[in-house]
Amino acid sequence: MDRFTSVLLVAGLGCFALAFVLSGLYPWLITDAKQTEATIAEVAYNVTTEFKQLKEMYPVAFADAYPTADECLTDRDLASADDDDPRRAQSDDAWRAAHAFALQAGRDTYVAEACWHCHSQFVRPVANETQRFGRIRVPADENNALQRPMMFGTRRVGPDLTNEGGKRSNDWHVAHFSDPTGTSPGSIMPAYTWFFRDGHQVFRTIDPDSAERTGIATSRRYPVPGVYATQADAEAALQRASDATPDNLSTERKRLVVGESEGPTPNALNVIAYLQWLGTWTDDDRREPQQ
């Protein structure tokens, strides 16, 4: 029994291999092996509404983040387009490409920042977890290229994120990354200041008359979406906004000013896109991406 050389063969290799077969290969055979793994393109096929909103809310960061940003047309851009307008199909492809890029990059950041050490993606059928966190996911939902490796997580210092997609708005996420206690008083999550960059933005100041009438402070400014890297870009944006203002509202033009600001980085958009996607893709959504 204690013949030394047999150690290498039986204990060293045999037991190790047996365990791998029983707890690695066997679960694979009875679950994931039964279907092909979904590609990133497949899981990104249904572009979330929140991802489309990112373009309207943060146009500059969005353009910096995705090569196909210019071809991603919003519903407003397509308002006058017919149903069979080729721009629609073109735009859909551009959105899907940008979405796929965002999901992969967002998930890479999720791993790199070790978000998964405090946030699980693992709802269990016990302890009232479905009431707090929602739907339980089955192996087929996870068998995709974004789950390499799977982000079950290990500890719940923060809430579970399995079904986070669509629960909160993009600007909630932006505000939360900037200062978690602002949106969630008492939160112990660190602020992700490096998800933000300084820049210049166009603001609309308030009309002194209406300020007096409504009691809103005259110092109040309303940001126009788009944080530009340079003052010159922001001034060009101001000019565009001014040109777009109808003549009958020409006094509004005078109230446009350029000021210093900060906005989310392209990478922050990736993370938000990933969070807004979580839980939205299930096995039922498997589809062939269009060629």
Partner: protein
């Protein structure tokens, strides 16, 4: 018994031509260095839990990234260096042959410290990988062959192979029908490390996505504990305990049974990290049953140790290394008993995802394996430096600060876990739970501070012992590591 008495009676430092003391010394130095570093990271990140983390807002020192250093530097910086250092002492003495080559030894030493530094820098730069306890950067973008950073995983693999070559050479040269059981454990541990590392750092990233990948990750986490740390720890204990007590181990048969049971049951535990998940239930039940079986395996070691100690209770008072081993063994028994219960689905329902788990992890990694390595280092250091400890009292500070710190931390985190778990199940509002945890987290930081302080005492003492004036030391009296 007294400590050092008459200098005339002091024996020469035992000459051990087979042992390359420089390698032992430097590996142990590196081990203690990374232990102090890793624990300091742990202490710092614990401040985040009540809003006092000093580096908030600095991306590469953010909570999330630094937390990776805490666990990874313990695994690859402290434990590996500690085990390798002790093996450089133990294996030549058990085999009667020196290791393959001292030059190779220094190469391994250099490569390994480079790995730890590259790993730490990579994690701080955001190249950590999503495998628990294996966040070492693969260097590749997940699932592709696009190289982004130094492929640390590959270097670790290379290092593990070099370590195996280094130590298997004397073992193979001296092979005979009845080998010391220590050598069984150490041999198996070195080979399992290679296999485990390849499995955990390739399959979930390149081959198995989703839940079956997660099952493999679970297998990796537990194989690293069960098939590397555990056999290394047991193997070295089966060497150091008889050597220090100067009596044979109580039962060779029991140690062999322990070995085969470990080899069979331990690797089957992996999936117990993801119980109640979407991994097939049959696999989960298998993991639960084998986790319970491991408790029986562990009992063989515990019984063997206490039976060997039988009649030598005085050593607990007079011999600090033995006291470390004894304390570690008690922690080991508690940890494994705990395992047996909290692996059940009933307890998982409450304690999974809570501070109970870090409590358990600290009890086993610090309370057991780190305590054993500390005991071995306490015993070895005077033999390596040729001088008695600079200040033996500091070693006692080390012991008591660490042990009391750990007891507080374990009790605190266990209680915190139960409160957290029941509040989660009761659907308490989230911020209500965070507020309830506040006190527990403050106590945890306090306990962590005690532990770090203890290690600083030890590190300072080690430094002064090897650089300060040489104090005579009676090597014939092993118990002399305790102030008379």
């Amino acid at each position: 018994m007294t400590s050092v008495a008459d200098p005339a009676q002091v024996a020469e430092v035992p000459s051990e031509p087979l042992v390359d003391k420089g390698l032992v010394k430097w590996h142990l130095t590196a081990a203690i260095f990374f232990m102090v570093t890793a624990m300091t990271w742990g202490f710092l990140v614990s401040l985040q839990f009540f809003g006092h983390y000093p580096f908030e807002g600095i991306s590469f020192l953010s909570y999330g990234r630094v937390r990776l250093l805490h666990t990874n530097e313990i695994a690859y910086g402290f434990l590996v260096n500690g085990f390798v250092g002790c093996m450089y002492y133990a294996i030549p003495r058990m085999t009667g042959k020196s290791v393959a080559s001292s030059k190779l030894g220094w190469l391994i030493f250099g490569v390994w410290q480079f790995i730890i530094v590259a790993m730490s820098v990579g994690q701080l730069l955001g190249f950590g990988q999503g495998v628990e306890w294996g966040e070492t950067p693969t260097g590749f973008r997940p699932g592709t062959w696009e190289l982004q950073y130094i492929p640390v995983d590959f270097l670790i693999e290379l290092g593990a192979v070099l370590v195996a070559i280094q130590f298997l050479t004397p073992i193979v040269k001296s092979v005979r029908k009845h080998q010391y059981v220590s050598l069984w454990y150490l041999t198996a541990g070195m080979i399992w490390l290679i296999l485990t590392y390849v499995m955990g750092n390739t399959l979930p990233e390149w081959t198995l996505a989703g839940t079956s990948g997660a099952a493999t990750v679970g297998l990796f986490i537990h194989d690293l504990v069960g098939l590397f740390v555990t056999p290394m720890g047991w193997g070295l204990m089966y060497f150091f305990v008889p050597v220090i007590l100067r009596k044979p181990i109580w039962s060779h048969a029991l140690s062999v049974i322990g070995f085969w049971a470990l080899a069979f049951f331990y690797p089957l535990n992996g999936v117990h990290h993801f119980l109640l998940s979407s991994i097939p239930m049959s696999v989960q039940y298998g993991a639960i049953i084998s986790t319970m079986a491991v408790e029986i395996v562990v009992t063989t070691v515990v019984v063997n140790f206490f039976a060997t100690m039988w009649g030598r209770g005085d050593a607990l008072r007079t011999n600090l290394p033995i006291r470390w081993f004894f304390t570690g063994m008690i922690c080991y028994f508690i940890t494994c008993l705990q395992c047996m219960f909290h692996t059940t689905l009933t307890m998982q329902e409450i304690i999974h995802f809570t501070d109970w788990v870090p409590g358990h992890a600290h009890l086993v990694m610090l309370g057991v394996f780190a305590f054993w390595i500390m005991g071995m280092t306490t015993w070895l250091w005077p033999r390596l430096t040729g001088s008695d400890w600079h200040n033996r009292r500091l070693n006692h500070w080390h012991y008591w600060l660490t042990v009391i710190g750990l007891v507080i931390m374990f009790g605190d985190l266990t209680a915190a876990g139960l409160v957290h778990g029941y509040m989660l199940a009761a659907l308490s509002p989230w911020m209500e739970i965070v507020r309830a945890m506040h006190g527990f987290w403050v106590i945890r930081t306090f306990a962590g501070g005690m532990i770090v302080a203890g290690q600083l005492c030890f590190a300072w003492n080690m430094y002064k012992t090897c650089t300060g004036e040489v104090k005579p030391y009676d090597y014939r009296v092993d118990l002399a590591t305790v102030e008379a």
